[in-house]
Symmetry: C2
Subunit: 337 residues, 2 copies
DNA sequence: CTTCCGTATCGAATCGATTCGATCGTGCGC
DNA sequence: GCGCACGATCGAATCGATTCGATACGGAAG
């Protein structure tokens, strides 16, 4: 048995003749090579990284941001002989709080893609199991690794850019506030229920720039259609804002489309800024002013955090820089009469 | 030990008091519940379905078709306590032909999403390992399960629709021909190198309708940009076609955009048909004439094929129907003078 | 011819849970 | 009061590969 193991794994000394003899015998018995489960049990490692993608796959994967990060992650994990197991996030509130896979699947490390809420039941389940966890864009905790970007600083830069252009009536369109994913204007007392960390940080960036938004509109997800309805709502009311800072490019492009539909010129009548730095060909000829984050690098950073755990190091923290890219969707504030 | 097992699994008779005593002891020893690897080894099942998504994740996941099928699959597999392991397809020809995960990862069943080429090295690797395999849109083989749609009939319907509108000069834009993914007009002798089954079938549908395309343009992937360049090429030459039947909606919408850019009216100057039945909001106000395939059901069908394997049944074959949806992008052929 | 050394092969324990059969204890019926 | 039956608990084998220590075999040096 041990010789056969050597013959297949190649580790340890073995005569070429013996190796061949083992391989022939294997073929005769149609033994198809070592069973991964045995190896994994013995090694104490499954070689699997569980990745929790936001709610339903369909919704998550419509977001190019998620996909590009996932792509960067898989590219980094591949050479380490690690596989990615897809774990759906908690989709509907009526069902179980965490997917059963999170409780029972074999995985060496877990990644929560949109870290989100501070009291996440998924995080609790993973702690209970003792699974090392990497949190992307979540609230930092001492026992988890964190990967994030400078959300706050980026949003501050974008807002300052709008200020420099002379805007004073600035509205903002945000990512979801909490798991309920309500849509609409946010009243002051709802600000307390802001459990989604990424939303909080980007909102804080606006405040950092010294701006109090004339309106805060929360969306259920980062999708063009939600940006569009936000845009319609914000741009048809009285006291129209002259600039709208959005927390994602998809939302921003929805707002631009809404403005066009309403007969408003961008950026002459209203300026719009985004966040992420996606390619948005269908906005042509406009180019969105946005905060560019390094998406593939973010995925790679997650991969390195995973690597750290597997090499025995403790939880690590990585923050990636962002840069402001000025496009054609922001311009000087219109004269107010 | 056996009592502890019973206490955790819940199977078999156990007194509530004993159960509690076991749980307390577990907490005291900070034992975090049964190790999945042990269970999997004993059961002989990993609970994992390996899914090979076309080449690089980034490219695959930009295709809404892939995502919707994957979503349907995950939804079906979830209740069966099965997880999806992402396996990148062979991305570049210089690297290894199959991803190492395909050779070494533990999985009960494998799914090849875009079955593609007849001599697929991945299929060989899976056969060698003895892993039951589900092929989506691939060439049927006796030892694999197949899930597909009526590609040929659907394309035939779309082409017949164009014929009824009086079109005689019909061009077609196809999915990739082989792993090399060349782009451009297809010469007759290249037809022999058509190793991608889905492309072959949809092309056969055109022929079934009695049409010999005036031009066949192959693309490297089902993306809007490739449709656009195909459209530009086909619509600027002499002897412009009056109708273009495309093998995917993304390609078709690229062709529509190209036509608009060239100042051609759709459908007055040129009719365009697609395949898939996606929502394409950015084509508004146009609605694409297309062959609608049930994407989520396709994913579910894959899930059922997996289920069949796990319940001991042999490889099954499923073919789903398609329907022609007439939109606003096809109309009567213009008068030829 | 004996001894020593290095290489190739073999034995056996181990990873952790499951599960069938065996044992133990108790309550009930006769 | 005795035996039987049933329900709860325990022992031990098993899944399959890995790996450390031990053994056997070959040649080379003394």
């Amino acid at each position: 048995m041990s010789t056969a193991s050597l013959a297949f794994s190649g580790a340890g000394p073995i005569a070429a003749a013996t190796r061949q003899r083992v391989l022939d015998a294997a073929a005769a018995l149609d033994y198809s090579g070592p069973n991964p489960l045995g190896r994994q049990l013995r090694r104490g490692r499954s070689g699997i990284v569980g990745v929790v993608v936001g709610d339903s796959l369909r919704r998550s994967f419509r977001d190019p941001v998620a996909i590009q990060v996932l792509d960067g992650l898989v590219s980094t994990l591949g050479p380490l002989d690690l596989g990615v197991l897809l774990i759906p996030g908690s989709s509907d509130p009526s069902g179980p709080a965490v997917d059963p896979l999170l409780e029972t699947a074999a995985m060496d490390v877990a990644v929560i893609m949109w870290g989100g809420t501070t009291d996440d039941p998924m995080l609790g389940a993973l702690r209970r199991r003792g699974t090392p966890t990497v949190l992307v864009e979540g609230q930092h905790a001492p026992d988890v690794a964190s990967v994030g970007i400078d959300d706050r600083g980026g949003m501050r830069q974008a807002t300052e850019h709008l200020l420099e252009l002379g805007h004073t009536r600035i509205a903002t369109v945000t990512l979801p506030f909490d798991r309920c994913r309500g849509e609409g204007l946010v009243s002051p007392d709802e600000m307390d229920h802001l459990s989604w960390e990424i939303t909080r940080r980007r909102l804080a960036g606006v405040t950092d720039a010294g701006v109090t938004p004339v309106a805060i509109w929360a969306t259920p997800a980062s999708l063009v259609e939600h940006g569009r309805s936000a845009g319609v709502a914000l741009l048809t009311g009285a006291d129209r804002p002259t600039a709208i800072a959005c927390q994602s490019d998809l939302l921003a492009s929805g707002v631009v489309l809404a403005a066009r539909e309403l007969g408003l010129r961008v950026p002459e009548d209203v300026s719009v800024s985004g966040f992420d730095g996606l390619d948005l060909p269908w906005l042509a000829p406009d180019v969105l002013t946005t905060v560019v984050q390094p998406l593939a690098e973010k995925g790679a950073a997650v991969g390195h955090a995973v690597e750290d755990f597997l090499s025995g190091a403790g939880p690590s923290t990585r923050e990636l820089p962002v840069t402001l890219r000025i496009g054609t969707t922001t311009g000087p504030a219109p004269d107010v009469s």
